[in-house]
Symmetry: D2
């Protein structure tokens, strides 16, 4: 920990900081500059609380040097990790596109959707049975029956299923229905009790970034899952909240290289929620792959005009097929395959 003292700090104040450092079991390193005194605390930083140090008289600020995430950090696992979902690798040379409707509506809709996903060459399918909606009066998802429709449709094409878990009390049901990948939504990125629970099961987890979560908070949220023993975590960038009102979110493409430098885990992108409009999805999907993403989560509906939610952001099956062709070319341009 680096402790910068105020300009006018006295020797007694410096001594008190040193005593505080030693009491915590660390060693100090006092460096007297022309204008300021800087104190380094050497040893296990977790034993020293920056907040406590900052209220000691004469202290300007205290800053940690090491990072708080361990298991998910690339530093301890320099090679990238590959998360396997029923044999499908996420995080390697091959890029995965997970496609499907925003919400499960009917068996027929899911059957058509699964056919479209498979026809486009995607190897995993998404669909929501439990939907987080801003309004309590909006459609909240079909619930358990939705999981049934989804699995029945997906199994015909051998597509592993990805679906969102919102309520910790539903985890057993997800295990029972053999959900292949548990998605944690943006609004629940810091629902710590939910993170702890999915950390205890043996299922890959897609962890979406919170609307205004920093990379550091996002990595710590993943660390919650990893600390429970579940290391099969996939980060999903889905757009952040900014001042701009011309589109729903700003897809944070810079997060892709920055996050991949910090963690060994795979990073995918959801261009559909980021854009909020289907016509923007191809541009964003292409950009994500060009920037190094390991995969995409794309909304596709057999008939967008009749979708029960987020109708304006779903691609039609033929649009998904066309996009897959372009994505294959972009992937090749950056040395990957689709």
């Amino acid at each position: 920990m680096i402790i910068v003292m105020q300009r006018q700090a006295t020797d007694a104040q410096i001594d008190a900081v040193v005593a505080h450092i030693r009491a915590a079991g660390l060693r100090e390193h006092v460096s007297r500059g022309a204008e300021l005194v800087v104190i380094g605390a050497i040893g296990d930083e977790n034993l020293l609380d920056a907040g406590h140090v900052e209220i000691l008289p004469g202290v300007e600020r205290a800053t940690r040097v090491t990072k708080q995430y361990k298991i998910v950090a690339r530093a301890l696992h320099p090679a990238g990790s590959v998360v396997k979902v029923r044999g499908v690798p996420i995080g390697g040379e091959q890029i995965q596109v997970i496609a499907g409707p925003c919400s499960v509506e009917t068996q027929a809709q899911m059957d058509e959707a699964a056919a479209g996903v498979a026809a486009a060459g995607c190897r995993l399918m998404r669909g929501g049975a439990f939907k987080p909606r801003t309004s309590p009066y909006a459609f909240q998802g079909l619930g358990v029956i939705g999981l049934e429709y989804f699995q029945r449709a997906a199994q015909r094409y051998k597509l592993p299923v990805v679906t969102e878990l919102m309520d910790v009390r539903m985890l057993d049901t997800f295990m029972e229905y053999d959900v292949d990948v548990i998605q944690i939504g943006a609004r629940n990125m810091q629902n710590f009790d939910l993170l702890k629970e999915v950390g205890r099961v043996n299922k890959p987890v897609i962890l979406k970034r919170g609307l205004s979560a920093t990379l550091s908070e996002w990595l710590m949220a993943a660390e919650y899952i990893a600390a429970g023993g579940n290391h099969s975590i996939i980060f999903c960038e889905r757009g952040i909240r900014t001042f701009e009102t011309a589109y729903r979110n700003v897809l944070d493409i810079t997060a892709i290289p920055a996050l991949k430098r910090e963690t060994h885990l795979p990073v995918i992108v959801d261009p559909s929620h980021a854009a909020g409009k289907a016509w923007m999805v191809p541009a964003l999907a292409q950009a994500a792959i060009a920037a190094g993403a390991d995969g995409l989560l794309i909304e596709m509906h057999p008939n967008p005009c009749e979708a029960w939610c987020d109708a304006d952001q779903a691609l039609a099956p033929d649009e998904l097929q066309a996009l897959m062709r372009t994505l294959a070319a972009v992937a090749a341009a950056v040395g990957r395959t689709l």
Copy 2:
């Protein structure tokens, strides 16, 4: 709903929009301007989905006219509501300051804290038994034993207790321990299952604003609680996330008059979490009251230097007393009492 057509929209496209409006059970109103055609859809807007309208050919954009929140809206309840907590009114002429430590640590600490809260003239007490922490390796709160310490300390001074509920599975325990006010934290503002559950009990709820929640989303989160039957909701502004790094959050003082115009429910402010530093708390607390807040949620610790978490943002008991004197004068200046 107002539907603005694109400049080059054809008559056939306009007719299709009209047909869509009628199919949903509304009436249309087509207004042909010099440059653009604007279509009004008259009737129950909840029957028409803006997303669906926006993917119809020729549509530029569709905008709702009415608001989605009903129960919490001032429009349907022009006079302000007062939420009573064991006889203590929140939302009336009298301003309430809810003080206490960030987290429950020991019985002795809570006893001292309660004495300090009462001595400063505050009528409610706060304290956390379950703590949402960014790191899984940080102190997570004492849990149930913390509720016991808290109640034992508070009851001596007849102080109603306010504490945070993070996990929906702990709600019964909160009821058992007779928590007086359930606090929903910023990170759980859109944990919809949690909101639904607290909507079913008969306990006042403090609903903190999410780190980057708009007023509209915050009102809708309250509507989730209200829709379940629980109308005793208190909004709590606690600072928003912005680009500024000189302080933890930006206390959004503008939200106070803006929110009070939209809702009849009380609005309080947490200057401690907004600032992140104790030395800023008085300025922010005074500003909140001057701007019309109905109360404050302030961190006070009997001995901040020894606090187990957020040591740097807690006031000492004498600092709280001094602040209460200034707040009384500010309250009087704006026609309130403390």
Copy 3:
């Protein structure tokens, strides 16, 4: 203009709004819904001020329907425009990469830089003679002598030059030194007097987006230039300011498709300033082209370790060459050429 009345608006208030609309020379269209009255004002919206309407009693809000930008709008010029710089087209099928150092330092440095730019296959060169620096104590650019060094170096390779104009009083000097493209920096995007002046000359202008400018403000800034008669405007996205501190800015890739839908003018991207770090530049540059950008503005220094400013964000000449090869493949993948 759409005027939504408050729920409790009286008939007299509605009549007053109608009278206000007529007095401005427009016609009204009163639409009485179940809950609210909505009034459309039909005619030239520029004659009616939303602010004035909103202070009339009983008005909830007033919203413009048409956009304020005209000359730069795609609506009036559906095909995209190509801006030619000494024969080099910006905005067509061919993508242009404008490369060069952050600041002009010496003749030798510029000679080497120009050689590197040409060797990489770029067709335009950038370099700053006048530098906007956050600190008054930082290097502010060489000034006029920098323009000389730059032109001498660039002319050997027939590279048109792009350089930033900060001070309106230097415009004549820029014309004298025959600068090919005038760059307006992010901090000056709403320096309206500067915009007006460059609107009066016959030189292409690169207009960078302000750090937190909305698309709408950016388009209006371009309209300032266009209104003066200069329609050779190139938009340049360079990252926006957000809450994230892990990197300098967030490159707003979503702005590319969104802006191209609104304007017929070319849109390029500066990945160097967005990232702030050279190691991120390739990922962002590739993403920009994949998302549909018409070009890039990339910092390259013959010897980054010795650069006088922003050393950490410049590519070395061989890194630029490698990037150009990847960009050519990405461009081909999305149907463009480099």
Copy 4:
């Protein structure tokens, strides 16, 4: 400067950083922790560029320890400064309210406005002759004739005048018309050539915060003015840009105590531009004084309904008078006078 090395940094890399530090004329201090090596560079930090250090192999990050602003820093001038404007003190015990219309319209309007300002007990007057407008088609201010109207009206009541300078070429005119306080608007906060010029004259300057400027950038912008010799600088917080769309800006009340800790110069607040709506102005003005602001800049128009710009944010003369009464009480509550 604190230089944190990467985990896997080699001894040779550490030696290279040390050599770099020494070459710049500073001394090093190498501190080997359990996980990381941290190097302190001791001496004049301005001789060492963090960007250069960060591209040295093995370096994780480099952080300055001292601040870049000197003249405006409180550290070198612990007591607060008072800026006097024709005898009126800004920054002392007495709070100053600068009131007047958004823009100068006619002589009659300014005469009425001046009468209203004086009647309310304000001691300075504001008014815009040159207006920064988002649209080139909007009213841009009366220009020089506006300065004449303004001075004629204000002199009758001996009110010093505050008006905005946008174009560096108009500075001589401002001096000629004896403007008392030059206002630099939010959009020009980093128009460095303009800052340098007002730094050379002997006139108080109000420096508004940029829409998304950090405190650090704002302090550096003031340092530009101060470095030229003009130390009569008044900071003006006017709301920042965030994700919230329910109001124009978020008034950053936290900036008041935070900025006053960093600088000895006065800090005032503009609640009118922050709110964008007159009905919110009293709440924000009261909050600003309660938080410790040294003054306010408030829009007042003799007849808001007829204002030529920003009609919806101006107070009427009687509203200003009522607000002044409340502000006097709030000022007294926090130990100030009005």
